[in-house]
Symmetry: C2
Subunit: 347 residues, 2 copies
Amino acid sequence: MSKATIDDVAKLAGVSIKTVSRVVNNEANVRDATRARVQHAIETLNYSPNQSARSLASRRSYLIGLLYDDPSLYEIPSSSYVISIQEGVLKACKSRKYDLLIHPCFYRDRHIANEIRTLIEHSRLDGLVLAPPLSDMTRILRAIEACGTPLARVAPGSGGDRHPVVRTNDREIAAQMTRYLASLGHERIAFITGHEDHKAVANRYLGYEDGMRESRLKLQERLVCAGDNSFKSGERCAMRLLKGRSPPTAIFASNDDMAAGVIRMARQLGLSVPEDLSVAGFDDIPLAQQVCPSLTTVSQPLAEMAELATTMLIDELEGSSGSAGPSCIEASLVFRESTGPAPGSGA
Amino acid sequence: MSKATIDDVAKLAGVSIKTVSRVVNNEANVRDATRARVQHAIETLNYSPNQSARSLASRRSYLIGLLYDDPSLYEIPSSSYVISIQEGVLKACKSRKYDLLIHPCFYRDRHIANEIRTLIEHSRLDGLVLAPPLSDMTRILRAIEACGTPLARVAPGSGGDRHPVVRTNDREIAAQMTRYLASLGHERIAFITGHEDHKAVANRYLGYEDGMRESRLKLQERLVCAGDNSFKSGERCAMRLLKGRSPPTAIFASNDDMAAGVIRMARQLGLSVPEDLSVAGFDDIPLAQQVCPSLTTVSQPLAEMAELATTMLIDELEGSSGSAGPSCIEASLVFRESTGPAPGSGA
DNA sequence: GTGAAAGCGCTAACAC
DNA sequence: GTGTTAGCGCTTTCAC
């Protein structure tokens, strides 16, 4: 029963509605005794402010929108990615008393800018959090900025913008993983790239190149295979890489789904992991612990990134000065069973 | 710029705001010519109604809340379950022009009723969709009904309530899977139960009993093992079942995560699936296709259930008469690689 | 410290 | 068919 209004409370407490409003919003300029009296009335009546009225008057909805690319729309079932993002955003929302509205969309949709514009105009959002790969697309950023809606992004781009951006060290950590594989004695280290529209994933390839160079290993085009982030593309690439002559002894896939596909294919080809082939992934999704052998991978702090981005957005909404600009949350390597010494490296 | 108001449109079109309102809300009693003129003005001004104002005046927010148990809160990472539910709810919301607010919570939280009450009072929701196992808990249902908020549930309980409930035929389909295993010559068919608080999952056990009885196989207590829906509990149960004497030749787990755990453990114990052991799961999550061998399972139409529940809720909100009462969307068996003839059954 | 008055932009009820 | 008049329940501005 959200029946009681601010008038009821004011009457019961013997004050004006403005004073009630002050108490509710924790504003200054209320004597302690008055405040207590109002508090009491609020509790007695079980009063809770009407959000729509509040929104209308204050032009703030306490609603954050989360925009992400919905993998289910094109059958790449990496649900844990979405869940991690949501988890982080929700955590920030909860602690700041905002509600979360979710809006998955298809990033390649030609009308996506319009869709988002409609969402902004039609829904009463205070701000928007953008997840990758949506957060990489200038067309979308333009549309949102044109609407003047505050936003924060989880994205690799440095941006240099006037809105908060949170990224992780994809490139550096991918280089580190590559060097780790090299340190195990692997020389033919293959790489499976991810979907080209996904900039963060693209950075992982750059990291691979860095790592190979730093380990003084030769980059070979035939050891690089183009995946699309899906399990199936991992299988396909593994097949191609392993069937060639002088096949790799290690495969580094730019995400876990593809790495899991590699493991499955390796097994079907009669190879043992990690004895015959080392496999590394990226993301540390739950699947990484469930495949056999479990996957050496990079723990990507997706939830933390989303949480930070959201917190920064809310800070901005509330004028808590600018913690704006780009931030970075560092990823880390997770060593499990799928990697080991290169065959014949004396182990 | 959601700057233009209904007054601006009215002025430009040379009509009253009420007429604009009629056009915007697709009401009758507007001459075609007038309607066109108003439409034109709307487009010219790029007008879009202010939702907060609309909510305040009409007491409708066009906001649906989705309440679900958040697996990440206690480390059972079955994200695909959440995603499927969201997917269904979102689809219904989209087609009916509602927005979706998500609210995960911990179903065993002692203060959950309060949390939900706060959510309802504080947020301006038109209705609530409840996902299992929250949807099974009378304590929660009571709290929501006491608030008078319309709701719909995805739940096994027949309910007999005055709100929509959508269920699936867990029990019957589990019996069918059991009979299928029996038809392959298996006699010692083990079952791994799920989390006890999850009624739908509990029904699957009843179906197993039915299926065993119908196949004239003996129910043996030692062939039933208690899991908790997690991958790890699947591994644990498999270990216990397979290490005993006269171990089962088939294991039916009440969800895919546990079934995947069984497969992993079987492999570690040196058993081949399905040659030495058949494994069946339930849910058909993406993982079912990614494990090796891929999992024979039950395709649970979670997204469809959620979509139907949401549609029924919205129907009710809009007074489109009652399609209320319980509905059922049927699950079906999916045959993959993890099941085969019983060892020594002449195959 | 506190209150009165004036909206926020829309829908609802009823008059015309 | 169309317009007028009141609110919806809150915040804001400014006076006291």
